[in-house]
């Protein structure tokens, strides 16, 4: 389990938006996964199966806290990038660009936002994203494709508005 705990905790954190709730959800999911090992199909990939349980527990935690979804956007704003541009002007421009992208993501439908979060923020495979989102792999692909299209349109709209 140790090898999976980071991706599991981060997944739960993006869903709950709260560190202690994410920790609780991850632990509960690990316990449930351990108990359900007998039902796990041998030969099937373990990580997507585990992440699906984690995501489910995290959603339950979020529901219990009667919190709205989409909190991961707040988390994104909390930190500057590791490879910050060298000049102050470039840093300002990069920050503006991030805000622009973030606002555009905020304008997407929730399912599209989560498809983006799974693939690009958590770096999960399509299969893992599908397990978390509870849909088929093909659906993840089509949601991502639509999400990227909508993002481009949103960014263009914001660019025109300036």
């Amino acid at each position: 389990m140790r090898g999976y705990q980071e991706v599991a905790f981060r997944t739960a954190y993006l869903i709950t938006g709260d560190a202690s709730e994410a920790e609780d959800a991850t632990q509960e999911a690990f316990v449930k996964a351990y108990r359900a090992l007998g039902r796990f199909r041998s030969g099937a990939p373990f990580r997507p199966w585990l992440l699906a349980i984690v995501a489910n527990e995290a959603r339950n935690q979020r529901r219990a806290a009667t919190r709205r979804s989409g909190l991961f956007l707040r988390a994104v704003r909390e930190r500057a990038p590791e490879n910050s541009p060298s000049s102050p002007e470039a840093a300002v421009l990069a920050a503006e660009r991030r805000d622009e992208l973030l606002n555009a993501i905020g304008g997407l439908r929730e399912e599209a936002r989560w498809a983006i979060a799974c693939r690009y923020f958590l770096g999960l495979s399509e299969e893992e994203a599908a397990a978390i989102l509870g849909c088929a792999r093909g659906t993840v692909k089509s949601r991502l494709s639509r999400a990227l299209g909508s993002l481009r349109a949103e960014i263009a709209k914001e660019g025109d508005a300036r």
Binding site: M1, R2, Q5, E6, A8, F9, R10, Y13, L14, D18, A19, S20, E21, A22, E23, D24, T26, Q27, E28, F30, V31, Y34, A64, A65, T66, F72, A75, V76, E78, R79, A80, P81, E82, N83, R97, R98, L101, L102, I116, Y120, F121, L122, G123, L148, L151, R152, I155
Partner: protein
């Protein structure tokens, strides 16, 4: 903008996400499962009714059927019981304060004296200032969910009381299973109030804080100390120790006569 560039930008944006340090969830899960494993033999015994019936049947055969059919054995067993009775008569009867008894009405706890008379012990009366409420009312009070200890398997609290600390509504969960604390009939009391530890339990108690040890509950800061310096929900005498910590926006107080390590393990299982 081509898809590839947009994807690169999204990955860069992903790298700016702040994630809190990953706690050692695997270790916490391991210890939780280990504890459950330790409890299992007892649970198996209680879970399989067939085993219990077999035990009852065996006892019946040994105690009633065999002695009835065999006069020799009857005499021997009879002697044994007489000896047992004599021995028992010398010991005082004890009120176990079991959870099966109707409790929590703040009424006096009763037991049997040596002579079989009913006696009342004021020390066994739990003292809770708040109004007794139902689990549904408690959940509604705490925004939909209660935090409960998962290990040891205490099940649901026997009683729940409403409490109000530093202008915040909270709940007091009372567990009676397990070893009672002191002369009270409570084994563990968990108080939950939305807010911080300081404002909820330590406000205006500047002299007390230095006496408390700083501890970590699943990586979250907490305090461990003598409960005698803090208001107790346990009744008299108060338990030796109290553990304070914050979790999911709730300030928690665990009161029990337990060693520090054991109390911390219970606190770490609270979800």
């Amino acid at each position: 903008m081509p898809d590839r560039d947009l994807e690169r930008e999204l990955r860069e944006l992903g790298s700016t996400i702040y994630y809190p340090p990953t706690p050692d969830v695997a270790r916490a899960t391991r210890s939780l499962l280990d504890e459950e494993q330790e409890d299992r033999p007892r649970r198996i015994q209680l879970t399989f009714p067939a085993l219990r019936w077999a035990a009852v049947a065996t006892a019946f055969v040994l105690v009633v059927a065999v002695p009835t059919l065999s006069p020799g054995l009857r005499a021997t067993v009879s002697d044994l019981f007489v000896a047992q009775d004599t021995q028992m008569a010398g010991e005082p009867a004890v009120d176990g304060g079991s959870s099966g008894r109707e409790s929590g009405e703040n009424g006096p706890a009763s037991g049997l004296s040596k002579g079989g008379e009913a006696v009342t012990s004021p020390a066994q009366t739990p003292r809770f200032a708040g109004e007794r409420i139902t689990p549904q009312e408690a959940r509604a009070r705490m925004g939909g969910a209660l935090l409960l200890p998962r290990t040891p398997k205490l099940g649901n609290p026997e009683e729940i009381y409403a409490t109000r600390t530093s202008r915040k509504d909270g709940v007091v969960l009372v567990y009676r299973q397990g070893s009672p604390v002191g002369d009270t009939r409570n084994s563990l009391v968990l108080t939950e109030v939305p807010g911080d530890i300081e404002s909820t339990y330590l406000a205006g108690k500047t002299a007390i804080k230095p006496k408390l040890d700083r501890v970590s509950v699943n990586g979250r800061p907490g305090y461990w100390g003598s409960d005698r310096c803090l208001p107790s929900h346990m009744g008299q005498p108060p338990p030796d120790h109290v553990l304070l910590w914050k979790q999911s926006g709730i300030a928690l107080q665990l009161e029990a006569n337990l060693p520090k390590e054991r109390a911390l393990r219970i606190a770490e299982s609270v979800r």
